[in-house]
Each structure stands twice: as C-alpha cells, then as structure tokens.
Symmetry: C2
Subunit: 385 residues, 2 copies
C-alpha cells in the first residue's frame, strides 16, 4: 500500500486535540486525511485535507463519512458503532475495530473481560441502574466505600465518583453502572502499547501520574515512572496481556494502579493516543501519534524508547474564568530550557477545560521535576479581562 | 502581545517545505497563519488557516497580502521587496526586514558586506554581466579557475558554476554575477543563529555537510560536525559576527568553508529556516522552525542544544523518473530505530527535485552515520510504473 503523497485517504472520527496532534504526523508523511467532528471550532479543522462537521453518534453521518475514505481510525471512543459494523462488513479497514471499541465503550464489559482473562483488576459488580445498585447495598452484597462508574460515556473524571455513604448516591445519574472496590494505591501508572495490523508490538516506558497531595488531581505525567524495575516490568507484562485480550490494532493506553503491596491492578484502557503519552512528542524517539499511524497503516513501529526524561503538565482552565482564553505567563515558561507548550486551539476557556499541555524534557529527571513545578506554578489559563 | 488562540495573524511569504514545517509549530501554538504561494499544489496549503495563491514577486499581490496580517515573515528570499518596504513604512512588522533581505538577495552586495565588516570570506569580483566578466579575464584581473555565481535568484546549486577554462563560460547566462576564488576546503560547515527582536541570540551547534566522494553532492548533514572544538568555536564566532552584521530578526543560516589550513570562510547566508537545520526537528530541544517563530514573535528563544546526534539525508527525485511519486523502500527504512522520513507533499517527482528528507537520530554518532548510509542506499524517489 502506498500512503505517501498518494490517493490513499485516512478518515479520523473526532477532531479534538488528539486528532490535531495526530495530524502533525499525517502532514509529515503527506497522508491525506478526512476528519469528522461535531464542532465547527474543532482543533483538527486545520491540518487535515478535508474537514466534515457532523455527529459522531449519528449512524448515517458516520456511515457516509466512512464511505469517503480507505481506512478509518478514531481519536475518541464514543462513536456510532453500528455504522462502523456496517462499514467493516462492506470491507472498510477500521482500526481499532468496532468489536474492540464495543468492549471498551462499556466499562462493565471491560471489567468482565479482565476477570475472564485473569487480568488483575479491582473487584467489581455491574448494575443496570441506580435501583439495582441500591438493592445490592440493601442486601449487603455491596459495602461502602466503593467507586461508582458510569458504564458508558464517562470522560476525564466525569462518570466516576467515590461513594463513602448513602449520601453520595443522591446525585448519581440513573444509568448502567458498576461499583468497584476502592483499593488504596501508591501510584497510578500507565503503559501505552502499540500493535500493528501484522502483530508487531512495542510498549512505551511505564509512566507515573503524580497527584497533587491535597486536590487529589493528576498534576504530572512522568516518564519513566520513578518505581522499582521489577514493578515496571510487571506493569509492562500486564499491559501486554491486556493488549492481547483486546486484539487491538493501533495504540492501547492501559491505566493501572500500583497497590500498597506492589500489586498491579488494571483500571481501564483507551484504544487510541492518550493524555499519558503526550510527553512522547518531545521525549521519545517516536511519538505515540506517529506510532498510532504506523500501527494502523501496518508500517513498521518506531522506537518507543526515550531520548530524555519527560514530564507533562496539563493546562486546564482556571476556576472562575470563562470566555476568550489568555495564557498568562506563557512567555515566562518558554524561557526555560526544554519547555514546550502545546495549545489545543480552543478559543473559549471554562473551569477545568483541557486547553493544552506543557512538556518538560531534560537529561536529568530531578531537574525536569523541578522545572515542571515551576511551570505549574507560573502559567495560568484565564479569560481575557 | 497575545499570539496563542488569539486574533493575531502571522503571514508567511512562500508555501514550500520550509513553510510547511514551520506550520507544525504554528499549529502547536495555535497561531493563526496566512500563507501566500504561487502554486495551488504548495506543500503549505494545508496546516495554515488561510492559503492564498499568487505571485511572490508581484508588488500588488504581496502588498495586499501584507495588509491582511499583523506580522510578516518569509520562507523564501525571492519576494517583492518594494511591497515589503511600503508595508514596513506603513507600520507592519516584517522579519527578516526588507533591508536585510535586500542585502542577502544580491550575493554581490552580501560579499561586499563581508569585506566591509572584516568577515573572512573568499576573494571576489563583481560584474554587471558576462561581457564585463570576459573583459576582466582579458585584462588578467581574473584568473581561472574561479566560482561563478549569479548575483540573484540562485537556488540549490542553480546559479553556481565552477569555471576552469573559457569553455565553461559558454553556457553561462548574461546576468549580474560575481567570480569568487576557488578555495580548496576540508569541510563545508553551517551554523544557524536565532536572534529575536529583543536581541536575544542563540546558535545551533556547527553542522557538517558530508559530500559524496565522487558526485561532489552533499549527502549528509551531520550534527554536531565531526571537527575539532577550536574550529567549531571559531565557526560559531564567525557566524555570530555575520548575524550582527545583518542585524536580522529570525534565523540566519550561515554557510562556511573550513579550509585546509582550518580557516573559516563565509560562503553565503539564508535569513530563514534552512536545509542544514532540518535535523533539529528530531535531534534538538527546540527545532529551527520553532525558534524562527519564537524569534520573530519576540518570545524567549528555545534551547538550541541537541538531545541526541542527528543526521539528515535529502530525498531527491531519481534521474530518469518524472511523474506521480513513489517512495520505494520507505517501509524498510522506517523499520530502523530513530529513522523519520519527512515527505514534503509534492505529487510529481522530477530528477533532483527536493521531495523530502530523512532524519536519523541516535545516542551514538558512529551508529547514526552507519544508519544514514543504510537509509541512503535503501530509499529511492521514483515515479509510479
């Protein structure tokens, strides 16, 4: 297959920041791209060859879009899978496949699959709705505390809640859901696995999410994770087993907990480039975005090792700020060696909206970590006064 | 000034591969871009916010384009300078300035400037045309061999000829030109200097052009150059002096010869991202393209040091091949660790047309050099059969 400056057309469902960063590499390889996104302000509307505005959940829209391209991929899981099934039946290559997406879209099915395949994960119970869950508590099958998760359409902390008492149930939506054991953990880790159509597999180094001690929010994604080699090795093995289970083509980001006793428990997966791999643009020999393309196009995978230590800081909208965005002190952080801001291209900021990220690379991890804190304390995503 | 996701508009004159690679970074920073290029197939037509087709040499076209933007830069020197003068008079910031461009567009003026500023360069004579040059030979003011250069519009070896006898004069065009001493040299070196509006200056490491022993063509650009520290230091000092002379804002690529006696002689300059800096996308902390943007936008300059050794191989069209391009064995080279092809996005190949480049990065320079040769011997830019 000839992809480079050819008639080949790659379709991407979703035009957010993940798609936008993937487009840097389709441009680098001069691969024609078609992007579908519901927003006319989508970050990917530039950099693709053709941008289409339309719903990712609408059967006809997704189906018609699929008919325009030679291969289809996604940058977001929540897309109309029936349309993908039909397109696949009609011979269109789709990576990740609708089958893989269907397993991942529903977190209940995802967890069942881990259990079935003896992949370590926290204990869980599935419920069709809130009444079902309440009944389980009444019957003493489920005890507080537990982690409530919406089975579908959760995103970035949306659709997840720690329930410590009946009070916490009050605000939950009545949707298909699951309850997971609340497992105390030392570290949240992630491993991105790239797997090509031909079955070639490479893993990125284990990364560590460092949490803010009080806010309990991920502050930094750190590569490589500052953990013992044996733990890192175990995390990679688990990630590879998860990858095998899903039989995906493209990237699979596997999020895991390192428990207090150094067990590795799989939390959840994403079958696409992932926030935990953004550091790879500057730190890795081959970025996650390039390897996603290589994998789905069945090209040889690139080296997933790092040139230097990498830390990523998310740029989210400040509380109390809504409107035309302003990146306060961005010039201050750009004056520091090895600091690269990525601005996703959203004109309007809102509290906690993901507006960009900053990568810090350095030969020395401790130095990188110090700079990351300086970056975090300097830049603010606010609205114009 | 607020550039990020704002109403600020950057204009770029020229939409070739240099502009295309610059756009990766305008996208990364979400800076609005307007691009002007004569070709509707220009590599930069995607990735910019607005693409305009028109002549870069036409006063009205360039002037009207300039009125659309808040700041203007170039990716090619051959643009209408009268239009830039008028735009600058009217208050538009233009970097590099038309004054700098005027000095550089004419290689005769460029050389005079080196002499005037005591910058080491080979001896030269200027001529208004061929008759003038012939007369100089007749008067014994000029001896064979010498290097003939067209004063204006030379590009990639075009407009340069080594003249060893009167026979070599036969095919020369009758244009303003200069004759330079043919100086035997050990190495051709280059240093890219970034200089921001505020006067902050950084230099990239000295790179070396390795020539094919028979074909006398640049085969590899190697960073860092494999030369003595003292020579590298001298090359950087000369480059800085050249930078000061031109008083440029943005990048200045300074091409130099290292003579057999380790003198450094300035050959010529380009006031923009340059082929000799393409390795920086993968090897440097901050790419030349990002630093060009930082410099013209008066943002702090990024770190110009390298993470790893970098070598660049140009991809030019094979002799005997014209038509729809095909990159033979591109998958073979992509299987090698640290190898990244850049495809410029020209559908049609022609003999010796610059179609792309490949970067090889490695912790070890010797290993990188071996891989570069493997790359060079594998990939071929041919036309579809």
């Amino acid at each position: 297959m000839n992809y480079f400056s050819s008639d080949f057309k790659l379709g991407i469902l979703g035009g957010g920041q993940l798609g936008k960063m993937m487009l840097y590499d389709t441009r680098k390889f001069d691969i024609q791209t078609f992007v579908l996104d519901p927003s006319e302000e989508a970050p990917s509307r530039f950099g693709c060859n053709n941008f289409y505005r339309g719903s990712l959940m609408d059967f006809d829209t997704v189906y018609q879009f699929g008919k325009l391209v030679d291969l289809l991929t996604i940058e977001i899981e929540n897309v109309n899978l029936d349309a993908l099934d039909k397109l696949e039946d009609e011979g269109l290559p789709i990576f990740p496949s609708p089958k893989t997406l269907r397993l991942i879209q529903n977190k209940g099915k995802q967890k069942d699959l881990y259990v079935k395949n003896e992949i370590p994960t926290s204990k869980h119970l599935r419920f069709v709705g809130l009444d079902d869950l309440r009944e389980s508590i009444a019957k003493d099958e489920l005890d507080f505390p537990f982690v409530w998760k919406s089975a579908q359409f959760g995103y970035d902390g949306n659709g997840v809640k720690i329930c410590r008492s009946a009070l916490d149930l009050m605000k939950l939506p009545d949707v298909e859901c699951l309850a997971e054991d609340l497992v105390p953990f030392k570290n949240e880790l992630a491993v991105i696995v790239a797997r090509s159509f031909s079955g070639e597999i490479k893993t990125y180094p284990v990364v560590e999410m460092e949490f803010h001690p009080e806010a309990n929010q991920v502050e930094y994604v750190i590569c490589p994770a500052r953990i013992a080699d044996a733990v890192a090795q175990k995390a990679k093995e688990v990630a590879l087993k998860v990858s095998e289970t899903f039989n995906h083509v493209g990237l699979l980001a596997v999020e895991m907990f390192q428990t207090e006793t150094d067990e590795i428990l799989v939390n959840e997966v994403a079958p696409r480039p992932h926030n935990s791999g953004h550091y790879s643009i500057e730190a890795s020999y081959t970025s996650q975005f390039e390897n996603h393309l290589r994998a789905i196009l069945n090209l040889p995978l690139g080296n997933t090792e790092s040139k230097v230590a990498g830390i990523m800081v998310n740029l989210v909208g400040e509380e109390g700020h809504t409107g035309q965005v302003y990146y306060e002190n961005i010039d201050t952080i750009m004056a520091i060696d090895g600091v690269t801001p990525h601005i996703y291209g959203k004109r309007e900021t809102r509290p906690f909206r993901k507006m960009g990220h900053v990568t810090i690379v350095n030969e020395n991890m401790e130095e990188a970590r110090k700079i990351a804190e300086e970056v975090k304390n300097s830049i603010r995503v606010i609205s114009m006064t």
